[in-house]
């Protein structure tokens, strides 16, 4: 196993600044021009319980956190107990001796020192960051600058606290881990941030959402930053209001997006079908978590694949895509907007909590994002549902002298309701032809990622792709990873070549939905389906072992 990765884990109660410390640590590595992957494990509660944040860093692209850490900072007893077995060889456990008592590792009285200041609990995260800084050989001055920048609220006390802890911990772990600087400083984005920015770069005009983990941070990001981009974010009464407002805004010409998780999305189905009938290009982001129903809100899963593909009653084309990295999430959000506006039908960007909320260094060029170029009506009488060869009718928006009628009922070309059998059949065919047009278009663009040149074929999708890639890297397994970006229409033309031979499928589902999709649509019969469905993303080493067990 290669040892090019350094992993830092900080664990504690919610409310002790664990996630914040994790994100500061990630930023710290990024400021060293290194690459990072940051996964937060948190429960559905606001204070207490057990949270931890893992940051793995390397001087190459790194696409997963690792469960086994080189440095663990345990802010409370539960973290100590839970992660004491998760140290790498040579790894160090630093723990809050006020919470843990006497134990193996390096004890530091984080709480006692914190109590010298107001809001002691919030201070603990600063202690964790300080410990990390010492362990990788940062001097006090650099640490001070970091704290100033990242913990600006109550700066003085934060610095004083950090300096005290540094004095205590430095002698014991000083410079234990030598980390080289990397090639360039990168931004760190979560999947949701990447989608927010990618959609913005792709011409998004407005966002509607009702909070639901793991999609809430999309709403929060756009509520905070959307204004600067002329892109309002609206939080209405419920998901049904969300999607119907969004469709109204599309009618008025806005490139709109909505976001939710399974339960909220289920509520949007009726209107999703409306978008299909009205031919409204609406981009929906569906962030999955373990279901069914409320399930396990703050954890990850890929159990909504077929639910997403078959959204909405009746028959109409839809496009479903799932990004395999934060970078891809950025471009794909923009590409989906463009595609949907091109073909005027609703679509879903399918992610998981692990994609939506994990964070990673990215190299993104906003110029690479697509920008919608819908077919617009020229001169002459306008017919909203003009029956064209590929089924796509030109768009026109109010205010206009022309009559623009969008209809949830079956309709004629002008958009007037019809019950006429010939017209019904004709319009069903019109919409059905769009599916063909979409497939033709997809055949011309990049729809499947392939990594590696030889070895067994591993089929996967979404955030699991990142787990697989990291697993192969860490264990030097030679394999070809095939990741369809588009799941509906599924690029069968690209996947058919994998029908023969011992394909492995990796996914985070108990029922094996992705494997079943591949079987049904492509005829691929995998030799093994490696599944995980306990809410946690794969650990690369654990996954590598499973893959090795098969190949």
């Amino acid at each position: 196993m290669r040892k090019d990765v350094f992993t830092f884990l900080v664990g504690g109660k919610a409310g002790e600044g664990v996630r914040k410390a994790g994100s500061v640590a990630a930023g710290l590595f990024a400021s060293m021009k290194r690459q990072v992957f940051n996964m937060d494990d948190y429960q559905s509660l606001i204070k207490g319980g057990h949270n931890f944040s893992i940051i793995s860093t390397a001087n190459r692209q790194i696409t997963s956190h690792y469960i086994k850490a080189d440095l663990v900072v345990a802010l409370d007893k539960r973290s100590y107990e839970m992660h004491k077995g998760d140290l790498t060889e040579g790894g160090i456990m630093v723990y809050n001796s006020d919470a843990v008592g006497d134990a193996e590792g390096v004890g530091v009285p984080l709480t006692k020192e914190a109590k010298k200041y107001p809001n002691p609990n919030l201070r603990l995260g600063v202690g964790a960051v300080t410990t990390l800084a010492a362990a990788i050989g940062w001097d006090k001055e650099s640490l001070k600058r970091l704290i100033e920048k990242k913990y600006p609220r109550d700066i003085e006390n934060n610095i004083a606290y950090a300096m005290t802890i540094y004095e205590m911990v430095n002698p014991k772990i000083e410079n234990r881990f030598k980390l080289d600087d990397g090639d360039k400083e990168r931004s760190i984005l979560s999947g949701n941030e990447a989608i927010a920015l990618g959609a913005a770069a792709g011409g998004l005009d407005i966002y509607f959402a009702y909070p639901m983990t793991p999609s809430s941070s999309l709403l929060h990001t756009l509520a905070t930053h959307g204004g600067k981009m002329g892109l309002p974010a609206v939080h209405p009464e419920n998901e049904i209001g969300v999607i119907n407002m969004a469709i109204g805004s599309v009618f008025a010409g806005a490139r709109a997006m909505v976001g939710s998780s399974g339960g909220g999305f289920a509520l949007m189905q009726e209107a999703f079908s409306l978008a299909g009938m009205a031919e409204a290009p609406l981009l929906c982001v569906l962030g999955s978590r373990p279901g069914p129903s409320t399930g396990v809100p703050t954890y990850t899963a890929q159990g909504d694949l077929k639910f997403a593909i078959h959204q909405g009653h009746g028959e109409f084309p839809r496009i479903i895509a799932s990004p395999g990295s934060m970078e891809e999430a950025f471009y794909l959000a923009a590409e989906m907007l463009s595609l949907l506006w091109r073909f005027q039908t609703p679509g879903i960007l399918l992610t998981e909590k692990h994609m939506a909320e994990s964070r990673m260094t990215v190299d993104i060029d906003a110029e690479g994002a697509k920008w919608p170029e819908p077919i617009v009506h020229g001169a002459g009488e306008y017919k909203r549902y003009l029956d064209t060869e590929n089924g796509v009718s030109p768009l026109l928006f109010p205010p206009s002298k022309e009559l623009i009628k969008w209809d949830s009922y079956e309709h004629d070309e002008l958009g007037i309701t019809t019950e006429n059998p010939e017209m019904i059949a004709r319009m069903q065919e019109k919409r059905n032809r769009k599916k063909k047009a979409i497939i033709d278009h997809l055949k011309d663009i990049h729809t499947v990622n392939m990594y590696g040149e030889k070895g067994p074929v591993i089929l996967t999708y979404g955030s699991t792709t990142m787990s697989v890639l990291e697993a192969l890297k860490v264990s030097d397994i030679e394999a070809m990873v095939v990741q369809p970006i588009y799941l509906e229409p599924l690029p069968v033309w690209e996947l058919e070549r994998y029908k023969k031979g011992g394909v492995i499928v990796v996914e985070q589902s108990c029922a094996g939905q992705f494997a079943s999709l591949l079987k049904e649509k492509v005829g691929i019969e995998p030799i093994t389906v490696i599944k995980k469905y306990d809410g946690r993303p794969f650990d690369p080493i654990e996954l590598a072992d499973k893959i090795k067990g098969v190949v």
Binding site: I206, P232, G248, A252, K401
Partner: protein, 280 residues
């Protein structure tokens, strides 16, 4: 065929109160045009039900929505392009059964939309079931022995929810109704117009309403008085019952922005995104 009509065949029952609403609305559009509001700027939506058919009959742009959602639809239109004047037609079942959450919140947030309720106290198009505004005892196919629920009071409920313009009309008083609609559309903020609409097939209320309606000669002085008017049981006062000024939702949201008409250029948008990308 007048210039506000489409070729769609009108399939309302002869004598239906909806005809009056259609005529009044056309009158209102013409008056608004005289006042300088081009008809291309007036954009409509409707729910599903007999009322919804008005969508097909009006030569105005819009989106024929789904049951109970037209008031959400038009809120989206307005936020996307606040230059539009948006009107949602809704049934009583539509607005107070399926769509009540959107009604209450449109009122609460003072969304700058007009909602016209074809309040016939019945699910017309699905053959006459009781609705949220049906009298207790109403016999329909889902309540063959009579409905067992008290009706909601739409005016009072909308007042309670925060509506800034509340009115009641009656299609028999066509000009009066047209005038209310003009005022409703002109009003900046949430305008609610409850139209007492007789349904000749399932709930013929012409006689009852004709004896009970009474045109208000002035807008009640304050909220309390408006509420009292809304709750009168002996008479059904017609006219504007309440009207106050408050900033509408879209202005509170983004001031004088317009997401569609002021859309940033690709270049400008990306310049701004770059700022957000700086490693922090």
């Amino acid at each position: 065929m007048d210039d506000l009509a489409t070729y769609a065949e009108n399939t309302w029952c002869p004598g239906c109160g909806n005809f009056g609403i259609l005529s009044a609305f056309k009158k209102a559009v013409r008056k608004l045009e005289e006042k300088g509001i081009k008809r291309g700027r007036i954009v409509i939506s409707a729910g599903i039900g007999c009322h919804g058919k008005i969508f097909d009959y009006l030569k105005l742009s819009g989106l024929y929505s789904i049951h109970g959602r037209s008031m959400a639809t038009v809120q989206g239109m307005k936020i996307a392009n606040p230059d539009l004047k948006v009107v949602a037609f809704a049934g009583d079942g539509d607005a107070f059964g399926e769509g009540i959450s959107h009604m209450i919140f449109a009122a609460k947030r003072n969304a700058d939309i007009t909602v016209i309720i074809h309040d016939n106290g019945v699910y017309g198009l699905t053959t006459g079931q009781y609705t949220p505004t049906s009298e207790k005892g109403f016999k329909g196919p889902s309540t063959p022995k009579g409905s067992i629920e008290e009706p909601l009071n739409p005016l009072a409920l909308m007042l309670e929810a925060g509506a800034t313009f509340v009115a009641r009309g009656f299609p028999v008083k066509l000009d009066h109704l047209a005038d209310i609609i003009v005022q409703a559309i002109e009003h900046e903020g949430f305008s609610f117009v409850d139209v007492l609409q007789p349904c000749v097939s399932f709930y013929n209320t012409y006689k009852k309403y004709n004896t009970m309606v009474e045109i208000l000669d002035h807008i009640p002085a304050d909220y309390q008085k408006a509420m009292a008017v809304a709750k009168r049981g002996d008479k059904l006062p017609l006219g504007v019952i309440y009207k106050i000024q408050k900033p509408p939702f879209h202005k509170e949201l983004y001031g004088d922005w317009n997401p569609v008409m002021k859309r940033m250029s690709k270049e400008e948008r990306r310049k701004r995104i770059l700022n957000l990308f700086q490693p922090r």
